[in-house]
Symmetry: C2
Subunit: 337 residues, 2 copies
């Protein structure tokens, strides 16, 4: 018998998630049957949507999330013992997946073989070569559709998704401006990732910064945060500008019945004929391999840097999660189990 | 010599436009040359964008706007004497257009023959069968793309554009909910125009109203107003909902440096994967005749009611304009010169 430890959410998060909202539950996993595989978790992802989606599920629920895991035992020949799997089984150290049942690859129930990473670290399977990378890739390329020479602004620029967005935009020949939450992050974006300009939004007047760094206006905006900074950036956009709305982390810890207020967007949307589109990356699930192929190529060639913020230990996932929500990570926040 | 009287804007509007921001100037028009036509204005349009665009032009500027006019004298065989023209020559009683020069049909400089209205009133050329009708037609059909059976919400529903939007949505088989600013308007929308439900936003809780009238959620939102009511409507939208942003009249009289605040849209945009697009109808100028053909057909068949709010007299344009901005009109506000 294999024991499973897993994080169960007992109470819907209110404000910043509390340690007591979770319980670590220990159970015994049943022997696997035909069409099932037994997994040992190696890498666990902590992501903003784990905060945002909390209220969608009745409590108690098992904390969902992407993980890279090793197949310990298999009764599905597609996933042989010793191979590695990406799944959405969440914050657990072992799990059983019935690969033939309802957990087929659809939306957040995706189960797929870890792509051939050509020597890159396996942890990237929940980061730059996983949901995170696909989120950056499709949101930027399918919704913002940046053209070479255009100016792209990214908020949450030093985060998991934002840091990849900015680098893809550079690869596509754009001028890239990032906003992040500390001077260290700003330095990393400019010196390591090749952003044309980055700003600490906590100590910068956003409109002044944009007038300096984007004198021709903003063509594309990749919005990870929502709130007043987004209203300000959108007010500086050019005719037919495109906004991909990936997240609104500024509001995730707010009371749902009391959404924060910010300057309205409609005057800019009309006069500049903007297109603003929100998305969840599972929309393009069948095309993720296309993103992974490009991302692996760019990571191997050094055009894409894939920094990770690693927390060690199953018992520290809560700290990694809350730290990520507070912006403590630079790059992708992952937990090594 | 023909005398021209015209409204000149001397001062950029601040808040509600003031009578003193305008001056009525009298000039003598020169005899027309080859490629020119002399026009006598018959109908003048007052529209929200005349307020919104004020700051774009250096003062003094001639007040722009659509008009239907009679060709008094022509040196361009395409526009013979006695024919009627739609142009953007604004608030003047006579004018000369050089049809061969820079005033070719592009954007707001459009000049075209009044369509064959098949017996409908000529004033519709600046209303339902003019820019107003095209704005409703393309914004709804090209951006919202409503499907039969879907729920469409319109704000400014009793205004020039909104009242046409709602009727087109009904023609396309949608459930249509309108918000307007008086009980009389609400009654008109429900009893005369066939809206499924209309509400007076000044006396209604918008969220409660929508839960009652749109229990399956909102698929399309045609936004004429911006502000908190738009945030509330957008929070009730379904997955892959579409928003056409046509105007933000709630903010037109506000200080430009102090845009009003409202609940942020990003949480709904992401979780419902919404698409929000702003537009100016000149984008589809070459396709306006396509809209006019449908609109004339619907107006002739009685499916489209084209109520007008007529002010008489050149000297009363200012009052018509400010009254329209305050929502005094039901249907299209026009001035008979």
């Amino acid at each position: 018998m294999v024991k499973q430890r897993k994080y169960v959410v007992k109470k819907h998060f209110q404000g910043v998630p509390k340690r007591d909202d979770f319980e670590i539950v220990e159970t015994e996993l049943l022997p696997i049957k035909n069409g099932e595989i037994l997994l040992k978790t190696e890498w666990i992802s902590v992501d903003p949507y784990q905060r945002a989606y909390s209220s969608r599920y009745p409590v108690p629920y098992d904390q969902f999330g992407y993980q890279v895991s090793l197949v310990l035992e298999s009764k599905d020949p597609r996933y042989p013992e010793g191979s590695r799997i990406v799944s959405h089984k969440g914050w657990c150290d072992h799990s059983v997946i019935n690969t033939s049942s309802g957990e087929a690859p659809s939306g957040l129930n995706a189960v797929y073989k870890l792509p051939d990473l050509k020597g890159l670290p396996n942890s990237l399977g929940i980061g730059a070569i996983g949901m995170t990378g696909a989120t950056a890739y499709f949101g930027l390329l399918e919704l913002c559709k940046p053209k070479a020479g255009e100016t792209v602004v990214v908020t949450g620029a030093a985060g998991a998704v934002g840091s990849i967005v900015g680098q893809i935009a550079k690869i596509k020949g754009c001028t890239v401006i990032g906003f992040a939450g500390s001077d260290d992050k700003v330095e990393w974006l400019e010196k390591e990732l090749g952003f044309d300009k980055a700003f600490n939004y906590k100590t910068t007047d956003v409109l002044t910064a944009l007038k300096e760094a984007a004198p021709k206006g903003v063509d594309c905006y990749f919005d990870n945060v929502g709130g007043e900074i987004s209203s300000q950036i959108i007010s500086q956009m050019n005719l037919y500008g495109r906004v991909a709305v990936c997240g609104s982390i500024s509001a995730y810890n707010a009371d749902l019945l009391n959404t924060p207020k910010a300057s309205i967007l409609q005057p800019s949307i009309v006069s500049k004929e903007l297109k603003i589109e929100g998305y969840i990356v599972s929309r393009w699930l069948s095309r993720w391999p296309e993103a992974f192929a490009d991302l692996i190529k760019w990571a191997k060639s050094g055009q894409l840097k894939t920094r990770e913020h690693v927390t060690e230990g199953f018992d520290n996932i809560y700290d990694a999660f809350v730290g990520m929500l507070a912006g403590e990570n630079t790059g992708k926040a992952v937990v090594k189990v």
